[in-house]
Amino acid sequence: MPMPFNSSFQRSLWVALVLATGTVPARADGPAAFAVPTEVRAVLDAHCADCHGEHGKGNVDVTALDKLKLGDRLETLNKIQDQLFYKMMPPPKSEQPGEKDARMLGEWVRTELRRHKASKLDDRLPYPDAGNYVDHAALFDGSNREKAYTLARRWLVSPQIFEERVLDVFQLVGRERDQLRRSGFYGVTNPFLLPDNAGVRYYDLTPLDGSHLLVMLNNAEWIASKQLQAARLKAGYPKAAPADPKDKWVPKTTPAAFEVVVTKKTAPTDDEIQTAVQTQFGLVLQRKATDAELRQYLALTRDAIQVAGNAEGLRQMLKAVLLESEFVYRLEFGAGKPDDYGRVPLAPREAAYALAYALGDRGPDATLLKAAESGKLNTKADCEREVLRLLADTAYFAAPVDKSLGFLQPTTAPHPRLIRFFREFFGYSTAFKIFKDTPRAGNVYTNADRGSTGTAGMLIDEADRLLTDILAADKAVFETMLTTDRYYVFHPLDNDKGKKLVDNWRAAYEVLRHTDWKKNPEAVAKEHDAVIRKYLDPKGLPGKHKVNHDNSVLRFMSYFEATFGRGFTPFTVLPWAHGNRFRHAEIYNLGAMPGHGGKYEPGQTFDYHPVQPFAVPDRKGILTHPAWLVAFSANTASDPIRRGKWIREKLLAGVVPDVPITVDAKVPDDPHKTLRERVGEVTRSAACVKCHSRMNDLGYPLEQFDDFGRFRKLEKLEHPDSLVSAGNGKSTFDVYKTKPIDARGVLSGTGDPKLDGPVTDALDLIDRLAKSDRVRQSIIRHAFRFFLGRNELPSDSQTLIDADRAYLKSGGSFKAVVVSLLTSDSFIYRKQQGNR
């Protein structure tokens, strides 16, 4: 069955837009000669024609619509529609049309465009960027009493689900599954990619197409070969081993049904082939083949065996099942008799998969499948029971949050998908794609490179840890994420181990500091061997080191003197340790790392905290976390516009129009002005300020943090004409003139007069945002999109209100939000296309 993708979704959102724009649709007329109705013309003449008459601004002439060719007219109507939708016209200082007139004009424009299927706004509606187009107040004021549903759908699996499905094909469990989850399969390429912009990205919009097919063909070849490899080796087939010695992994066994066919000297029987087909259906599609499917696959396999023999013929069948679209789709059609609203609930098996994929990347566990098969997954209460059970299960879905974080041992979470929501929402995980001129940060920052995601990767991991902790506590989750002053900054050892190590070091230092370790380290090493073995190294230490990376009393004590000796705590990874790349404490304004390059400079030294997270001054939450600040920066400067846009769209559920294609604005260079001043200048014009007024004042407060995420009071005017002294880029660095940071801004759009208004700086802005109902609700809207895979509709109003209430009632539990969403009508019920 072809799936209803955009068109039906657009119809649903049309209702939504009505609420957002304050208009209602008129009945679409049949094809007729174009004429602007008198009452519409009156509104256009009264409110638009002064500026947009003949030769009007923006090449828009509202007085000549009926003289334009169809294409030109539709283009003009699309411009008018955008201006009305975004509430950008008439300009704020002009006389505004009354509500009735505005509604009528919007209704007419929309009808005209839809008559020709030419509404560009409609085209955008299903996509993530248009999630906020539905009026926020209308979603949460309770006025909409519609029964929620989701359209029946095929939904392509996510990249992570795809990986798990391949692991399932090989029936891998335990350590082998964990290892291959991390390393991936040599011959399998993930055909599914998600865009890496901030915001929820995994929607049900992408169809399976040619680009996927090419990769699936390749994958099917490899997987099918591997499935048979053990049996082929057993049967003594020549060339059973892969031609590429790097392709080392071999499944320990071949499923018995396949082995029978491969090892048989004569042609297999129909029963043997059918058993093999059923086995492959079970492994790949996780269901039994129907009788019709069995007949088709039997014929295919027979023919292939006749051409190429048992093993190769069987392999063709395995490939064919792997090429079934069902392998890469989630099916959510619903089943049963429609209710009074035309909705059917998910079939129990569908519900089992939907719940499992909402909470993790693996399919349902045995308990969930059993519940589905035994009639215990039919009601909301059943779903709630299973969701609560799976949320309490810390093992089944446990996996690294992001296995691609370079050389780090990435943070592992019991439900990485929950962390992934916040990662996508905040968008900090793209930080490693921003490349920096590292001498600008005194070379404490490393770009992503071979084998590592660089400093950004470490920052991302530190943000992941923070979110993992907050989710584990599960109290006031949103507020804490926005306002916590506690961060992770280098945490290779857990709290207990780190503290114990530092305590031991301190004990050793207290003894050895009174010795002659500087002049006679060898003698000290001998004399205090017992102390050294007890606190520093059970094997003992030489007085002096001989080669790089060696430990010695001299090295330890030099390090301790520069840390303990100055009242600081040393970092638990030794500065001379091979591969020590921990240098970015300065990014958090926590001082320089002592001992880097063997140097112990006087001055501010990083005072390490073995017990983390710990309070870091001048910061509040994720928006001041360096990972977020780097992700929302340019290569060589901060980016107040993007930072402001993110706050407007993600926290305030606001809408910022797309950049017009005619705009190629660049922030001008000026050796005497800060970035804020230059951005202000270039966005001041009437054409720019309409959009930038929604972003700039929210982004300016974050100018307290530069593009490496460093807190600052002064901005370096990085222009050749402002250069005070040039550095060599290695040990000395360019010095520029500076100007004070102006971190004032204006918060607007919370709908709360106590919160809206001027803000003094970033921390003031964040405090107010964290108190806003609208911010909380905006996060819940995004969570809805994440778990439902689509934008919200007005009919989802009750689902959102329930989730919001669940959050408040539970004292800010995100798990309560998840339970609410996954037991909502929006999640459980499906409607067929056209049945609305």
């Binding site: 990619l193 040619g210 390749n218 490899w222 031609a243 790097k246 295919l300 691609s404 060589t636 222009h719």
Partner: protein, 454 residues
């Protein structure tokens, strides 16, 4: 293992098949397509060895300071290692001064030098299609693009077995690495299997066709977009099969030594050149990327070092071999590469096409994958370019040194590839990432190199 072989065959066919185009290499309106051949080497390419020895004192002084130069190569002597290209001097360009600090540099660079972004071994680091694939899109062909490689045996860049099919240096699109053929034998088998007389190859083709037909039938009523894609691949298969008569005369007739599992690096390169030429001349592709060597490759068969196994990494660290210094080994390697470039150009010049030869519609690029030296920083990416007369760049017969890094008028790899793309019909404003380090000089990094666009 057949995975990547089959991928190469089906993917290449499919990629072309899925695009809405029907014109292949053979010109339909009398205007032949452009061909692009990218040969890249490992271990860096010293800018100093690119300089004609016959520069005037003034020009030599400018060269020493890396000042801009634009000289008529016809009035100069080529560097000794470049002498195999002497007959092609009117078509030759020595291009110096491009920087590529936005690329991953050092030992290994992956897709960086063709994609102008920081690539590494993670697929996620591939930001977009490399420039060769962008060019291939503009001059469609059944295979779209082929990649050949003398794979390294250890570490770093694209790697596989010498004779396998593995991840190459090019990228088809974001997070989509391309695959390269490691041996001439495998490449010839896979690229020309539609006209194979080998029974087992024919059987595999028959099974592949049956599987696709089956899949297409199964999906027709379920996911039409998927079924259409399957049908597009089948249709492309049919068309390639229909081209059999055109392809058959160009099937490379490789000497036995090129078909062996064991062969010298030099033979491997020559064998690849035969495949490369056959693929181009048969119309299977218009774009070829060829890794002539890589840092982790153990070189064998070099002139004067026939019995030696040359470790290029050691050479990069200044280690000589026998009586040869490291620089002399580097000379031998480069000279060998020039014989390959000469072989390609000479053969294409003999292949008639419309009013001229195939070479008239060809550009050949020879460059280092990692910049100026073994442990490179990307401050320079020297290029040797051969251009046919229909190439749309005003660079033939010249020694060009662009302004130095940070100087007014300085250009990057991104500017260079933007120029290539713009000149051949892709209006992209700028190809590649910017270099954050150049920002401090206040230079505009975007766009083409205007003086090259004749």
């Amino acid at each position: 293992m057949t995975t990547r072989r089959d991928f190469m065959a089906t993917a290449a066919l499919g990629a072309a098949g899925l695009a809405p185009r029907t014109v292949w290499a053979k010109p339909t309106g009398g205007k032949p397509p452009m061909r692009f051949i990218f040969l890249h080497k490992g271990n860096g390419l010293f800018p100093s060895v690119m300089v004609p020895p016959s520069l005037s004192k003034d020009d030599a002084a400018k060269e020493a300071k890396k000042g801009p130069l634009n000289l008529d190569l016809g009035k100069h002597e080529l560097p000794e290692w470049m002498k195999p290209l002497a007959a092609h001097t009117p078509d030759l360009t020595i291009l110096q001064g491009l920087s590529g600090k936005m690329c991953t540099t050092g030992h290994h660079t992956w897709c960086s030098s063709l994609g102008v972004f920081k690539a590494n071994e993670r697929v996620s680091s591939i930001k977009w299609a490399t420039v060769d694939f962008e060019l291939a899109k503009m001059f469609p062909s059944p295979m779209e693009h082929i990649e050949l490689a003398c794979f390294p045996l250890g570490g770093g860049n694209a790697r596989g077995t010498l004779n396998g099919i593995a991840t190459g240096f090019s990228a088809r699109g974001p997070q989509q690495p391309n695959y390269a053929f490691g041996s001439p034998k495998v490449a010839a088998q896979e690229l020309f299997k539609s006209v194979s007389i080998d029974k087992s190859v024919q059987a595999q083709s028959q099974l592949g066709r049956a599987a696709l037909e089956f899949a297409g039938r199964r999906e027709a009523d379920k996911v039409p977009s998927y079924a259409s894609s399957i049908e597009a691949v089948r249709e492309r298969d049919r068309k390639v099969n229909a081209m059999a008569d055109a392809i058959r005369p160009h099937v490379p007739k490789l000497d036995a030594k090129y078909l062996a599992d064991e062969m010298t690096t030099v033979d491997r390169q020559r064998g690849h050149v035969e495949v490369l030429l056959a693929a181009l001349l048969s119309g299977l592709t218009n774009v070829v990327a060829f890794t002539v060597d890589e840092l982790g490759h153990e070189y064998t068969g070099l002139a004067g070092l026939e019995t030696e196994k040359v470790n290029l990494h050691d050479v990069g660290h200044g280690k000589g071999l026998g009586k040869l210094t490291a620089d002399e080994v580097r000379f031998a390697v480069r000279r060998q590469h020039m014989t390959l470039v000469d072989a390609i150009a000479a053969r294409l010049k003999k292949a008639p096409e419309v009013d001229g030869t195939v070479f008239d519609n060809t550009m050949i690029f020879y460059f280092p994958d990692n910049g100026e030296t073994h442990h490179s920083h990307g401050t320079e990416y020297p290029f040797v370019v051969l251009s046919g007369k229909n190439a749309k760049l005003n660079i033939r017969g010249k020694y060009i040194r662009l302004p130095n890094y940070g100087d007014a008028g300085h250009k990057t790899l991104g500017n260079w590839y933007t120029t290539l793309l713009n000149a051949h019909g892709n209006p992209i404003k700028h190809y590649g990432d910017p270099d954050p380090g150049l920002a401090r000089f206040g230079l505009d990094q975007t766009g083409s190199i205007k003086q090259f666009l004749g």
